[in-house]
């Protein structure tokens, strides 16, 4: 079994080459997705069906933005668990490495989620102009997602306001947890309220109602899968970069203390000492 494994690694020229092959394959698949999204038959029920193709790329963005917001909150919850500050679970020892790692995961999820939220707004605004004739139609879905964008922005405003790493992690984590209920309401409840639903132009219950089917549905699923893979890759990269930054900071601190060369002492001011007889 081991021999087979070594043979496979030799065949690919090592793990690095395997990664390169996977990346190349991903780029090729993305190219296929772009071509497919142009050749797929027109969707029915839109004013300009040809221009409605942006839906294929718009669809994964809000799904991932909301998922990453929830995952960021979950990572913040795990961070509180790891530093024993949470009343949910007490531990005998404080695990600072775990705290740093969960905080990094939380901020990575939030950053990528913010990016997808911006993409949702951009593609949604374009769709609104093409199909409804105005860049901004005050559609309930557009409005609720704008508030989700504001929640993301508030999270980063809070994060930038604290310079101390520990406080930054704790307070922004607390805010991430506090956003769960309003975000779920905004995404899943608000657009479905009877009064609000009657005002909406946005297509709703497309998946549940079975409106996305055939080649259109297959193309949507394919693009969703590709964008999800990209998200996982970006997330892993962001966490690795964060860990490298922390490692560099630690190393710089160690270099300053090397060679028995302490930091200069403070200025000594002359003081008056009365003579003792």
């Amino acid at each position: 079994m081991c021999d087979v494994g070594y043979w496979a690694l030799d065949l690919c020229g090592g793990l690095e080459k395997l990664k390169t092959i996977l990346r190349t394959l991903y780029v090729l698949l993305m190219g296929v997705a772009i071509v497919w999204s142009y050749t797929v038959p027109d969707a029915v029920g839109f004013q300009k069906p040809g221009m409605a193709r942006i839906f294929l790329w718009h669809f994964p963005c809000p799904m991932l933005a909301v998922f990453l917001l929830m995952y960021g909150a979950w990572c913040a919850f795990r961070m509180f668990q790891s530093i024993s500050l949470s009343p949910f679970q007490f531990k005998a020892e404080t695990n600072y490495d775990a705290k740093v790692l969960w905080d990094l995961r939380s901020v990575a999820a939030m950053e990528i989620g913010y990016l997808f939220c911006l993409l949702t707004m951009a593609t949604g605004i374009l769709f609104s102009e093409v199909q409804w004739g105005a860049w901004w139609s005050w559609d309930p879905r557009q409005t609720s997602f704008l508030i989700v964008l504001l929640i993301y922005a508030a999270y980063f405003a809070l994060r930038f306001a604290y310079s101390d790493g520990g406080k930054r992690a704790a307070f922004s984590g607390a805010y991430a947890l506090a956003t769960i209920v309003p975000s779920l309401f905004l995404v899943f409840v608000f657009p479905r309220l009877p009064y609000i639903k009657s005002l909406s132009l946005h297509p709703s219950d497309s998946i549940v109602g079975g409106l996305i089917k055939g080649q259109y549905g297959q193309c949507v699923c394919f693009i969703l899968a590709l964008v999800t893979v990209l998200t996982v890759y970006l997330f892993k990269m962001r966490v690795q970069v964060g860990l490298l930054e922390i490692g560099l900071e630690k190393r710089n601190g160690q270099l300053e203390n090397l060679g028995n060369n302490p930091a200069p002492t403070g200025v000594v001011r002359p003081v008056y000492l009365p003579k003792s007889d």
Binding site: F80, F171, A174
Partner: protein
């Protein structure tokens, strides 16, 4: 007594807002939805301006450290949020009475208005108290607390507007009932989770 300024600010803000809206719409007959919207916007900004003071004052006066040493986080949060709940309900009732008086708008479903107002004010108080605590140690705490509170309160405002517009005779009764249930649920969720989140960051 140190939070007296918060109460005075909130009430003064409400009176000035009601007067400003009534003055601006002097010759207009306002629709129920518009009245409900303006009422909730006034409540939102009144709360986000005055309620976070309860934690910010502790940090500014240097008493927060002492409170951290002697106080249990749940007790501190409940004490602060109960005061804010009371302040918010008083401000809300005053604002509503003044506003409806100035605009001469009749109330069709009084119980729905009362439920929406009280549940809404409790939710506002719970969420803003938590945001005040989260922003209390930042350098730009006064602006930041309002900035991070408003996105969390906008869903609440939408529910509040849906409920109050029905109470003012605009919309179906089922919609108003749904909004009232939503507001009660929001208040319960905010006040139930707030102490746990606060306890996690209190000693930071």
């Amino acid at each position: 007594m140190r939070s007296q300024s918060g109460l005075v600010t909130g009430v003064l803000f409400s009176v000035v807002t009601v007067y400003a809206i009534s003055f601006a719409t002097l010759s207009e007959k306002l629709h129920g939805t518009v009245v409900a919207g303006l009422l909730w916007v006034a409540l939102l900004f009144s709360s986000s301006a005055s309620l976070p003071r309860i934690f910010l004052a502790e940090e500014e006066q240097g008493t927060a450290e002492l409170l951290r040493m002697v106080g249990r986080p749940h007790a501190v949060f409940w004490g602060k949020s109960l005061f804010n709940c009371l302040q918010s309900v008083v401000t809300g009732i005053l604002l509503c009475v003044l506003y409806l008086g100035f605009t001469s708008k009749s109330v069709t479903v009084p119980w729905l208005l009362a439920v929406c107002l009280i549940a809404g004010c409790l939710s506002l108080a719970g969420a803003v108290t938590l945001c005040g605590a989260i922003a209390s140690q930042a350098s730009n705490r006064a602006v930041l607390s309002a900035a991070i509170a408003v996105p969390l309160l906008l869903p609440l405002v939408s529910l509040g507007v849906s409920g109050v517009r029905v109470a003012l005779g605009d919309g179906a009764a089922s919609e108003g009932n749904g909004a009232a249930i939503g507001l009660i649920g929001y208040a319960c969720a905010t006040l139930a989770t707030g102490p746990w989140i606060f306890a996690a960051v209190w000693k930071s």
